[in-house]
Assembly symmetry: C2
Homo-oligomer: 230 residues x 2
């Protein structure tokens, strides 16, 4: 079953129902969160709640199918979309935000709710950011860190977390059409401070940093402290 492509002989709308349900679920979950009822999703897809269960087995399996589809779509769309060093800025530059908006919003909902996909996603981001930052270090454009792994995780959580929080507070009840514009506004608001912080830091001198290193019991990589402090 389900081995034929979209362009098969028939009217083409035969087995499209299951994917239509899935897409409707993605859009609806992205818009209203995962606590939305099955009947709402079913109505969006123009079917009955029973049919959703018939095709996916349960609501959890439906969400799993959504997770997988979003992940796969965005991966083959552009792997580095969400996984550059800063995590967000490059995503704004691509003009496809409009088209992918439901998917991106679905990801934000996932991050807000927690769970399997969210964890997998941020681990992917960290792994990719590790590469980007290492490459940047080797190229001499990124400063070395006393604890590279910790810094990578920190940057990933900062970028992702602030974005999720921002949309939780300001974009929770936005219409799907507004989402892309909201997204651009978020980027425009935060791009400059981010770049400024990345470029010049926040503090004038190293006293706080060094005091913390004195205070902390086991400073990591104490060996190459001089190479950074110089």
């Amino acid at each position: 079953m389900a081995s034929e492509g979209v362009g098969s002989g028939g009217n083409g709308g035969e087995f499209a129902t299951v994917s239509r349900i899935r897409d409707a679920a993605i859009a609806r979950f992205a818009r209203d969160g995962f606590q939305v009822g099955l009947r709402t999703v079913a109505a969006d897809a123009g079917v009955t709640a029973g049919l959703v269960i018939h095709h996916f087995g349960s609501k959890d399996e439906l969400r799993l199918a959504c997770d997988e589809h979003v992940l796969e779509t965005l991966r083959q769309e552009k792997t580095k979309t969400l996984t550059d060093g800063t995590g967000t800025m490059l995503l704004a530059q691509m003009a496809e935000v409009e088209r992918l908006a439901p998917m991106v919003r679905y990801l934000l909902r996932s991050m807000q709710a927690g769970g399997e996909l969210a964890l997998k996603l941020i681990e992917n981001m960290i792994a990719d950011a590790e590469q980007y930052l290492s490459a940047g270090e080797a190229a001499g454009v990124v400063r070395p860190s006393r604890d590279r792994a910790a810094r990578t995780r920190y940057l990933a959580y900062q970028a992702t977390g602030s974005m999720v929080l921002w949309f939780t507070l300001h974009g929770a009840d936005a219409e799907p059409a507004e989402f892309a514009a909201l997204f651009r506004r978020y980027i425009e608001d935060l791009a400059l401070p981010a770049l400024e912080l990345f470029t010049q830091g926040l503090l004038v001198d190293r006293s706080m940093h060094d005091e913390y290193l004195m205070y902390v019991p086991d400073p990591p990589c104490a060996g190459d402290a001089d190479s950074i402090a110089s």
Copy 2:
């Protein structure tokens, strides 16, 4: 009616029920999220669901009462707890985390769910951070920014958002007893990278920063650009 203290003549448990319900709700909401049932909260407080409604009117009003109590308690506990420049690090230093853990966790849940309290809270944080950063600037320990307001908001969202996300992913199903330890681990993991970034920045040169300023249509505060770029 509620003018007596705990050590009054009677059994002392007369009017304590309403606050006991509120505290149980705070703890339970903090632990399991706001979608938890009224009967669970009532059982925690040793009462019936109907009584909760009788005292608070509705579940939403119960949550409002929880919001207000948490906000007031934390405010008079220590105003600067959540509102220093970095937003999180000082909170770890105080030894009262254990005692206030349910409240802090309740705040995290609030931020995760969004809504009135969350918005009010982050606006408070931004306002206070503005003061701290201005004072730091005046004292010469904080670098000036091209757009101070934007930087303040950026820092607040970064610090808060990463914390919320971290607990969403790693502390969602933690026991209340583990929470304080989790909190400390979070701080320990992220304090060094944060201080490092604040001290030395991330990028070696200013090319990215300056390129963005060229690209962006209207750079804010273009007048004092030299004072920063110098």
